[in-house]
Symmetry: C2
Subunit: 346 residues, 2 copies
């Protein structure tokens, strides 16, 4: 006979507090943390509960990592590169410009040695990490005017976060750090000339197309950014084994589902944006070549200055170069041929 499931009182009640870096309006990413928490509760008879909060609710945005480190809260759903000012090595776990696509990034972290490298680094901050999603390759952002060649970006003010901003600064752009809720107004009133956030689905929600009609691609600084769960290490280690397995398994499922949801929603949104008159533009080749060169020059400098960056970057770069080569064989030739045929209406 099949009885209702129940867990005994020997399983402790544990409540974690998790702050997301993403507002609840971005339900694809914030909602993924909520779904993961529901799964973990279901797997533990409701005994291990994770309360999901929005940015600033439990700790000011920039102080969230500290709150996890000191145990004030237990977990943080974030892109680790938001903390690159602390150490540039924080950038690698999310994405480096001209780095890997979502699938390569997953391969590197899950089975290519990346998880060990990241956790060795995070141990310095008393953190453990779990990949809990990826957005896929992002777009290059919204420009108020058309950019036809590299020199035209000199002096532009662009809202862009992370390493991509550092690279663009070397080519004359003035990168601006603006929190999500302020981007639209700054772009609308001309305080900035351009802004990037993510992919078509989220960008359409922000309404950027209303004030900056040129939508560039690709987002070469985020070809496949991972979303991470950063967890206070002592809190994780104190969990009963069942709760650890529940967390790991739910994280794997979240990774699988977040990317699928982004892909489906971006597919619909890009069609909707084109219907609204958005002008899609590829970045000029001279801009891509210059930013590619500047990116790897930057990494070489960072590796020379920051041993922790170097320890992750060097094996990351080798893996990236090799998997680029292997993906060019079956994956890329399959896509190239099929895309070309489909574009011909075949």
């Amino acid at each position: 006979a099949l009885a209702a499931p129940a867990v005994t009182s020997s399983l402790p009640d544990i409540v974690w507090r998790l702050q997301s870096s993403f507002p609840a309006s971005l339900e694809t990413i914030h909602g993924s943390a909520e779904a993961m928490a529901r799964t973990i509760a279901a797997l533990t008879g409701g005994r291990f509960r994770i309360e999901i909060e929005t940015p600033g609710h439990l700790a000011p945005g920039a102080e969230t990592l500290d709150a996890v480190r000191n145990g004030a809260i237990q977990a943080h759903q974030t892109c680790s590169y938001y903390y690159m000012d602390l150490d540039p090595a924080f950038a690698i776990g999310t994405a480096l410009p001209f780095g890997m696509n979502a699938r390569m990034q997953d391969a590197w972290i899950t089975d290519g040695g990346g998880q060990h490298l990241l956790d060795t680094f995070y141990a310095n901050y008393d953190l453990v990490s779990f990949v809990v999603g990826n957005t896929g390759a992002q777009m290059g952002g919204w420009f108020r005017r058309e950019i036809r060649s590299l020199p035209e970006i000199a002096g532009m003010k662009m809202r862009i976060a992370g390493v991509g901003g550092t690279v663009l600064a070397r080519l004359g752009v003035e990168p601006q750090q603006i929190a999500p809720e302020g981007i639209y107004a700054a772009l609308a009133d001309g305080t900035i000339d351009a802004a990037e956030w993510g992919g078509p689905y989220e960008d359409e929600k922000f309404g950027f197309y209303k004030v900056a009609p040129y939508y560039y691609y690709p987002g070469w600084w985020e070809g496949g950014p991972s979303v991470h769960l950063l967890v206070n290490r002592p809190a994780f280690e104190a969990l009963p084994e069942l709760y650890k397995v529940a967390l790991r398994t739910a994280a794997g499922q979240a990774s699988h589902e977040m990317l699928a949801r982004y892909d489906v929603r971006n597919n619909t949104a890009i069609r909707s944006l084109i219907d609204k008159g958005v002008q899609l533009r590829p970045f000029p080749t001279d801009l891509l070549e210059a930013t590619y060169k500047a990116s790897f020059e930057l990494y070489a400098e960072l590796a020379a200055e920051h041993p922790r960056f170097k320890a992750i970057y060097e094996p990351w770069k080798l893996f990236r170069d090799q998997i680029y080569q292997s993906f060019r064989v079956a994956e890329f030739s399959f896509e190239s041929f099929g895309f070309a045929q489909q574009a011909k209406g075949l």
Copy 2:
């Protein structure tokens, strides 16, 4: 205080028997079922156990689906297209030639309406389905001699399974059905001229490179084949809710991890094969164009004859065409540029 986890006696002991279509020597795919079973056991205090068996152990290979339908066993890890002779609609859940890559396939099934379409179809067989992995784009197989243009394949005997074989038959190839353990000998003694199995990692294990030096790409018939768990519906519905959640969550994790493992191992294996003197060759363009055309002609015929195929194929085709277009923007331009730069040594 944190006590050891335990589940009460109100959780029933349930043992399922699962037969895999894949031998234990293919540990990337067979091992994924074993890992999933370990996770499910860990999540249920060892009360829900799934025993994983190799092909033929519980039922003869071709009769495994019947054994699940009639409840003799509860689950089957397989590529559903092995059952396309029963109904061609079984092919779509795995892959159709010139269909989707792994990520598009995941997007379609997980969030693009595919799961509902597949389960509506599987309900005719008293089955429910879970995606539990993907191999990524496969290679085009091993050829004893070089193929420089379409006419050269006429009269060739090639070991190839599924819809790809049906397409090639229309162009003069004689497709051969040979179980994995017999392929090497048939290729070695010239009984067949060519053979495909999967990607570099598994193909290297089989040793095909010793007897057929030309290794073609891409495997246009399997650009991103999903691996499924097919489950007896009454057995699934009788599970306690906790066990259902454990199964779903572990399936999501397995999907995430299998692809990563294939990508890492294929990356190493293709390098190893090249070191061994394997000659990599892209399929001739006229062959790809003819097989592309023949594939979609075949699908139109199947849709006209088989209502269940049509019910899945038409929304699948629309999704495929649209996501091809959206992936060409950020994803494909990111890869194209990066791959080209890296190939130049930059």
